[in-house]
């Protein structure tokens, strides 16, 4: 069976869903961060699939922008996560409960 645009879109939606679910249920900041990356890449897949279908260059260029943004996010995110981990090794987000009201 030849994969159609729709199958790509469905796959992307599944990946996005997996990422979102992971973000909700996992408590390790690093894993949660990976889930966000997964979601971004699912979006990339969507863009590529749609751009191919429309034979449109715009969607493909969008992917490059998203990749750059994702890379920048890694830099910032890892920085924040590492500085927290250094302070409190093995911390999960549940341990971060200084702020509540």
């Amino acid at each position: 069976m030849e994969p159609t645009t729709t199958s790509y879109l469905v796959l992307a939606a599944l990946l996005f869903g997996i990422g979102a679910t992971g973000l909700m249920i996992r408590r390790n900041p690093l894993v949660m961060f990976m889930c966000i990356e997964l979601m971004l890449n699912a979006v990339n897949l969507t863009f590529v699939a749609l751009a191919t279908r429309f034979s449109d260059i715009d969607g493909q260029t969008a992917v490059f922008f998203v990749m750059v943004v994702a890379a920048a996010e890694v830099v910032v995110g890892l920085g924040i996560i590492i500085s927290i981990m250094r302070r409190r090794p093995g911390a999960t987000v549940d341990d971060l409960a200084e702020l509540k009201g």
């Binding site: 966000i36 969507t46 749609l50 969008a62 996010e73 910032v76 924040i80 927290i84 200084e98 702020l99």
Partner: protein
């Protein structure tokens, strides 16, 4: 056949506010790194001046727009209209105020230096791009520029609370960005373009049956969720109290002013300007979000004991007010006579930005003196210790409550007016009643400042630049409150010149 690449023509003057901001940020970083430590306050002054000059340039560009009519820049990536200039001016004003306040907040810590100001300017540039974007991808880039800088700023203080705030902000902000981006992708699937002008044209020219409406609607839903997170509208507000409380106060001020203004500008761009043909789909959602934000924001604010948390919830309720304006704009989005909704939201944003920076600046002064605590008890007796500061706080809080003769009243009046003009009576009444509930919260802070017995007798030092920022904010609040025509005569043009 390979197409010839034609570089878009670039109107450099129209881009000058962005260039000035980026140049300021880079200049601070590079020059700051190469030179020994600058005299105290200079970093702040330079970044405040940068922001001010970008704002002034935007005023000139506004004149150009008013003469020649709106257009686009850089091959349709950015719009060249009064809307964009208005957002730029509001963002620049708030940034300049925050830059002034930042100086005293980082003095003597490891953060003293050019970096934090470079981050502020970068974030502000992102916010300006969001307000001007004419393409969803550009909008996303602006959003990420703003957000990434804000994540770092939020986590900049090396305290447990600060780091936790940065972490929470990063994870939930990343989620929101991803959702927003997925929305863009699906909308692209429905409209075959990410350019706002082309999206409008496409929906205008095709009959509903020919469109891929399921993709558009799914995209629309995701966009609203993503934007809802960014503007901190209930029920997507859960991050905001923790982040507002944990982040350093000057960063909170920036988030509540520039962050909110940019997110609302983006919302207006996406919903009102790009998707007027789906207004009947998104308007009810906005209606629900508005009411949820108003009710949840004001009722939960009342039960808090930490001033920054209170203000975080109050900011949720302000988001509700702004959504009332967005809802009003939704009634006649895309029509020739489009009502005052859009304009009222922009006026609200500009006035609220100034207000909230002023308020948080005072919180910064008081909490610094109290060893970083922002519990409401540290405000006790402020009226005895620092009557002028307490008076400024009172003016700003009364404005947040929407009492007449302050800018907050003008802002609320405008939004309610546009809602009533569209006969959205229910939402207008709910908004006003929740404003009364929220007023209780501002009264509590005022009671503490004026009527409670002082817990502390030593008056808190007010750093000169912070004092200037507070005085400016209070002055704007009063002047616009007494003579709103100053601002309104000017903003009438906004909706006319928005594309």
């Amino acid at each position: 056949m390979p197409e010839q690449f034609i570089a878009p023509s670039i109107d450099w003057f129209a881009l000058s506010p962005y260039l000035v901001m980026v140049a300021g940020a880079l200049g601070l970083l590079v020059v700051g790194a190469l030179t020994p430590r600058w005299p105290r306050g200079l970093y702040s002054l330079v970044s405040a001046l940068t922001a001010t000059s970008a704002g002034v340039l935007a005023v000139f560009i506004w004149n150009d727009v008013a003469e020649m009519g709106p257009g686009t820049l850089v091959g349709g990536a950015l719009s060249h209209d009064a809307f964009a200039q208005f957002v730029t001016i509001a963002v620049c004003a708030a940034t300049a105020l925050v830059a002034l306040v930042t100086d005293a907040e980082v003095r003597g810590t490891v953060l003293e230096g050019p970096e934090i100001h470079a981050l502020l300017l970068t974030a502000a540039t992102g916010a300006m791009v969001m307000g001007a974007s004419n393409d969803l991808i550009v909008l996303f880039l602006g959003l990420e520029t703003l957000s990434l800088a804000l994540y770092v700023l939020a986590a900049s203080e090396r305290t447990a609370a600060g780091q936790e705030a940065g972490m929470k902000y990063f994870i939930l902000g990343g989620l929101a960005s991803a959702v927003f981006l997925y929305g863009i992708a699906l909308l692209y699937g429905g409209a075959r373009s990410t350019n706002l002008g082309e999206i409008v044209a496409r929906f205008q020219s095709t009959v509903a049956l020919e469109r891929n409406d399921s993709l558009v609607l799914a995209g629309l839903a995701l966009l609203i969720v993503g934007l809802g997170f960014k503007v901190a509208a209930a029920p997507f507000h859960v991050w905001s109290p923790d982040v507002y409380q944990g982040a350093p106060t000057h960063v909170t001020a920036f988030m509540a002013s520039v962050g909110k203004a940019a997110a609302f500008a983006a919302m207006l761009r996406v919903l009102v300007i790009a998707l007027p043909f789906h207004r009947d789909d998104w308007r009810p959602v906005i209606w629900v979000l508005a009411i949820a934000s108003l009710v949840i924001g004001s009722t939960l604010a009342v039960v808090q004991t930490d001033v920054k948390r209170m203000l975080a919830f109050s900011s949720v309720s302000h988001a509700g007010f702004l959504l009332v304006g967005v809802e009003a704009a939704g009634h006649r989005a895309g029509e020739q006579i489009s009502g005052d909704g859009l304009e009222s939201v922009l006026v609200y944003l500009a006035l609220y930005s100034v207000l909230v920076v002023g308020t948080f600046s005072i919180v910064a002064v008081v909490s610094r003196h109290a060893g970083g605590s922002t519990d409401i008890s540290v405000f006790a007796g402020l009226g005895r210790r620092r009557p002028v500061l307490a008076l400024a706080l009172t003016i700003l809080l009364l404005a947040q409550a929407g009492v007449p003769l302050t800018s907050g009243f003008v802002a609320k009046w405008g939004v309610i007016q546009s809602a009533v003009a569209e006969r959205s009576y229910a939402i207008a009444i709910i908004a006003m009643v929740s404003a009364v509930i929220a007023a209780f919260l501002y009264l509590r802070i005022m009671v503490s400042a004026w009527l409670a017995d002082p817990s502390e007798v030593e008056p808190e030092p007010v750093p000169a630049m912070t004092g200037v920022a507070i005085a400016l904010a209070a002055a704007v609040t009063l002047v616009v409150g007494v003579y709103p025509e100053l601002l309104l005569g000017w903003t009438d043009a906004v909706s006319n010149f928005a594309r």
